[in-house]
């Protein structure tokens, strides 16, 4: 495996967006050696994903005050520094900090975040649903950066 895309989320309303982006990506042709996984609130087990591959793209929901449906690229370092808040960012940030604290080598990492609106209901808000496609594109662009050119 050359790279791993991890869609993080839960079944709570817009919070599912990371999972849906992963599903969409997995249904389309991807560069060779790219694996896509969905992780429902992985907590510490995110560490296992991080150690399994040299390059990782994380796709997650975010609440930062940006316009709903915005697709943002977040530098991993900013995650810890800014304490960006989402249902999972703290967990993701904490997990990354834990890996660093343990002296584990981190994979090359890109984070694609989608600004969400509501954590309730069974479907996505319209703004967030409209962001699935752009988020897939952002994840593909992140993969391009990470994968060494053939």
């Amino acid at each position: 495996m050359r790279a791993l895309v991890i869609g993080i989320g839960s079944s709570h309303g817009d919070d599912a967006v990371g999972l849906l982006v992963a599903q969409r990506l997995a249904s389309e042709p991807l560069p060779e050696g790219v694996t896509v996984v969905e992780r429902d609130r992985p907590g510490l087990s995110l560490l296992d994903d991080l150690e399994s591959t040299p390059a990782v793209v994380i796709v997650d929901a975010l609440r930062s005050g940006a316009a709903p449906g915005s697709v943002l690229r977040i530098p991993p370092a900013a995650l810890a520094r800014e304490r960006l808040t989402s249902s999972h960012t703290l967990r993701v940030a904490e997990t990354l900090m834990l890996a660093v604290a343990l002296g584990r080598p981190l994979p090359a990492l890109r984070i694609v975040a989608i600004e969400i609106v509501a954590m309730e209901g069974e479907t996505l808000s319209p703004e967030v649903a409209a962001a699935v496609e752009p988020a897939c594109a952002a994840a593909r662009a992140a993969l391009e950066e990470l994968l060494p050119r053939a």
Partner: protein
């Protein structure tokens, strides 16, 4: 006039779910103490009505991301008692293995990431990892093994879907079990090392008069079956839960408080299991317990973390025993025919006894269900504990007082959410002093 002092912990850190503590002292007297649980009530008992009993295992697993197995297995046992299902002994062993996985994962999380920072005076598990990377890496390795067991039997480690009425959707193959066995061979040694390290930390002491309650099984350390027993002589069948305990609503909490019929608070969890079932521990776990006497078995909630360590060791030995002796069952699940009736199930979740009562109609649909999680049972006990602790925190600074109260609450490893896992975005801690 006596000093009046209020300690508020706005959002409890390092517990699962959303809770807060409000404590007001006058002199060394506790004027007011409320463990506030403001998680929105989840209405699981309401929306499970009308669902087919076969749907219960998957739906119940969604109540908790940390102890899904205990929730689903309590419901499964309750339903199986109604439908009079006979369980293959090999399936019964797999169910114990499933619980081993959940205990290993949940207990290690508590020991290293929730409790250890308290003993070391650190903010969180990340700080512990910086100072003690070897210890934390060991705990993570072992925790991964728990995860592995849950994935093998549950189909996936989070929101497992493998369990069903009668058994499992699929049983592991011999080679899958052999592969797990090879990973479990060194687990007990790792668990011993985890326990030794935790036991070497300055763990506080708060011995008190408590009634400890757990399941007890005649031949084994309790997981899915047994009678309800206590250190004060309670000994009834699970179906007689209501003869011994009563649930009531309190204004400051969305979780029901559960008490003994005589009004007393009681404690469920590893401390209780150990006190009431120590004779059924596996050899290494039993030997480890000997080295911890007189701290364990005991009536000291602060020693719960050591009981967790013993249970991790027990679960590693028990899981290895089950993997070694594994013979795949003839069928992964027994067949059954739905019928009307009332059934009761109780399991030992990592944080304690979890009771479920199910009533079905002739089609096997749920007419009514009651779910009594361990944290609801421990809530009154936690408040009693804090009442005893409160006078001792008077002399401390606000920050130390808050830490001390939070640490005491964490000893119970409360799982306040017990159904949704929307994590608090910002952790706010607040202490206010008033005259």
């Amino acid at each position: 006039m006596a000093e009046r002092r209020t300690i508020e912990v706005g959002a409890l850190a390092r517990v699962e779910g959303q809770g807060a503590l409000h404590l007001t002292l006058e002199g060394d007297r506790v004027v007011e103490l409320r463990l506030e649980i403001y998680e929105p009530p989840r209405f699981f008992e309401g929306f499970l009505r009308g669902r087919a009993a076969r749907e219960l295992p998957d739906l119940m697993a969604r109540i908790c991301g940390i102890c899904p197995v205990a929730y689903q297995m309590s419901a499964v046992h309750a339903v199986e008692s109604i439908f009079d299902v006979t369980i293959d002994p090999a399936v019964r062993q797999l169910r114990r293995l499933f619980t081993c996985g959940e205990w290993i994962e949940s207990h290690l999380l508590h020991m290293f990431f929730l409790a250890a920072p308290d003993y070391l005076g650190l903010d969180d598990g990340i700080a512990v990892a910086k100072l003690h990377p070897v210890q934390v890496e060991r705990a993570l390795r072992l925790r991964k093994l728990g995860h592995r067991i849950l994935a093998l039997l549950g189909g996936r480690p989070v929101n497992p879907v493998g369990a069903c009425i009668g058994g499992f959707a699929r049983a592991p193959t011999r080679s899958e079990m052999a592969s797990l066995e090879s990973e479990l061979v060194h687990a007990a040694g790792e668990a011993e090392a985890c326990l030794r390290w935790i036991a070497s930390l300055p763990i506080p002491s708060r011995p008190q008069e408590i009634e400890l309650v757990s399941l007890r099984h005649p031949h084994e350390y309790p997981m899915n079956e047994g009678r309800l027993v206590s250190t004060r002589g309670l000994d009834v069948a699970v179906s007689e839960f209501d003869s011994a305990f009563v649930e009531s609503q309190v204004p400051h909490s969305t979780a029901l408080h559960c008490r003994r019929r005589d009004g007393g608070a009681y404690l469920v969890g590893p401390l209780a299991r150990l006190a009431l079932n120590a004779e059924h521990l596996t050899p290494a776990a039993s030997a480890a317990l000997e080295t911890l006497r007189p701290r364990l078995p005991s009536f000291d909630p602060a020693a719960s973390v050591l009981a967790r360590g013993i249970e991790v060791l027990y679960a590693c030995e028990e899981a290895l025993r089950i993997a070694r002796s594994y013979e795949p069952p003839a069928a992964p699940a027994a067949s059954w025919t739905p019928c009307a009736g009332v059934g009761h199930g109780a399991t030992e979740a990592p944080r304690g006894l979890l009771y479920v009562r199910v009533e079905t109609d002739a089609a096997g649909d749920v007419v009514a269900i009651r779910i009594v999680p361990p944290t609801a049972q421990n809530q009154a006990r936690i408040e009693d504990d804090l009442r005893l602790l409160a006078p001792r925190v008077l002399a401390l600074s606000h920050d130390e007082a808050r830490r001390s109260c939070e640490s005491a609450i964490r000893d119970y490893d409360p799982c306040i959410s017990c159904s949704t896992h929307f994590l608090t975005l910002e952790i706010e801690r607040r202490i206010r002093s008033e005259d």
